[in-house]
């Protein structure tokens, strides 16, 4: 039974074949969901596995499923998600569960690599520094998408990832979008070829789950729409 002073917390324990375990956690003002997890691990059950680092919304490592919704737990206040004093914490969806609240992020970042997510400069250290005007249209587009922290909340919130396991996903496509608009990058054609097709940007149904859930308020949907436009132009002109 939850009260004003106590939270009833169900936490996923084990791997895919695990189950929820119940804990009672003291409630505090300004308490975050990560605070709750830390309390359980330090005070109630030291065997609980979870992942975090910065605790201030920068590193993107503490994302979990909170009451059925993927969230960054370090910046999610309990009061906003558990008004009735109940929390259900599970690992992120669409990723292999290693143990408890820890998922294997390799499929997520492997897709960044598949989408050409690595910057490839076209100059050497002997060339002059590139001048990128802050008000250049391409730079403004990059600004709108560059603050991704790689938390995988968008990936866990995308139904298409569940339907098509080979789908690159919102974060990888968003990353590719920032690079194809980077004036210094020299792999635009290869990157467009990597993100085109039915496992890439054209698979997106524009359901906008990624944009709704992104804790940084980015819109991968807009980035994916941009990739659709660029790849369509490239395919039409024969450049793809």
């Amino acid at each position: 039974m939850s009260s004003d002073r106590t939270l009833e917390v169900s936490v996923w324990r084990g791997d895919v074949a695990g189950r929820f375990a119940a804990y009672r956690v003291p409630r505090h003002a300004n308490q975050t969901v990560l605070d709750v997890v830390i309390h359980i691990q330090r005070e109630l059950d030291p065997t609980l596995s979870y992942r975090f680092a910065c605790r201030v919304g920068v590193c993107g490592s503490c994302a979990m499923t909170v009451n059925g919704i993927a969230r960054w737990t370090c910046r999610t206040h309990v009061n906003k998600v558990a008004a009735d004093g109940r929390l259900e914490l599970a690992p992120l969806a669409h990723l292999p569960v290693i143990r408890d609240l820890v998922t294997d992020l390799r499929p997520f970042f492997d897709k960044w690599a598949r989408a050409g997510g690595r910057f490839q400069g076209k100059t050497t250290r002997h060339d002059p520094l590139a001048v990128v005007r802050p008000d250049a249209p391409e730079r403004r587009v990059v600004d709108a998408a560059i603050e991704c922290i790689g938390c995988a909340v968008c990936y866990a919130s995308c139904d298409l990832v569940a339907w098509r396991p080979d789908y690159l996903g919102p974060a990888a496509l968003n990353r590719a979008w920032t690079l194809v608009n980077d004036a210094r990058d020299g792999a635009r054609a290869e990157r467009l070829a990597a993100v085109a097709g039915d496992a890439g940007c054209h698979a997106c149904h524009t359901q906008m789950g990624c944009s709704k859930r992104c804790p940084k308020h980015l819109s991968p949907t807009v980035s994916i729409a941009g990739l659709k436009r660029l790849t369509a132009r490239a395919a039409w002109s024969g450049a793809l």
Binding site: W163, A194, A196, G197, A232, L240
Partner: protein, 113 residues
Amino acid sequence: MTEARRQTLLWLAQRASAAVLAVCVTAHLATIFYVAREHLGAAEILDRTRGSWMLAMFYAVFVVAAAVHAPLGVRAICEEWLGWRGRPLDRATLVAAALLLAPGLGAVWAVFA
């Protein structure tokens, strides 16, 4: 043709055919409302369609757009829900397009000739 280009052109074909269908469906619905309001029977409708190149061309475009759009949509559903990929899916898409195109154009011809 690269796979990336083929996939992108298929996506483009579905979006372009959707745009054509938006116009065609609107005009078709307006035609249905006109026929209903004027209480036109089959003979009176055929009087208007026989020999009308304009109506024949309009409905031929409608049929072609539907025959492009619908199979590509069903193809995406098959990929996502059934995990169906590759050549068999390509062939099934073409068969679905032919099954829409042939009777559709046949119907256009039937009311024109």
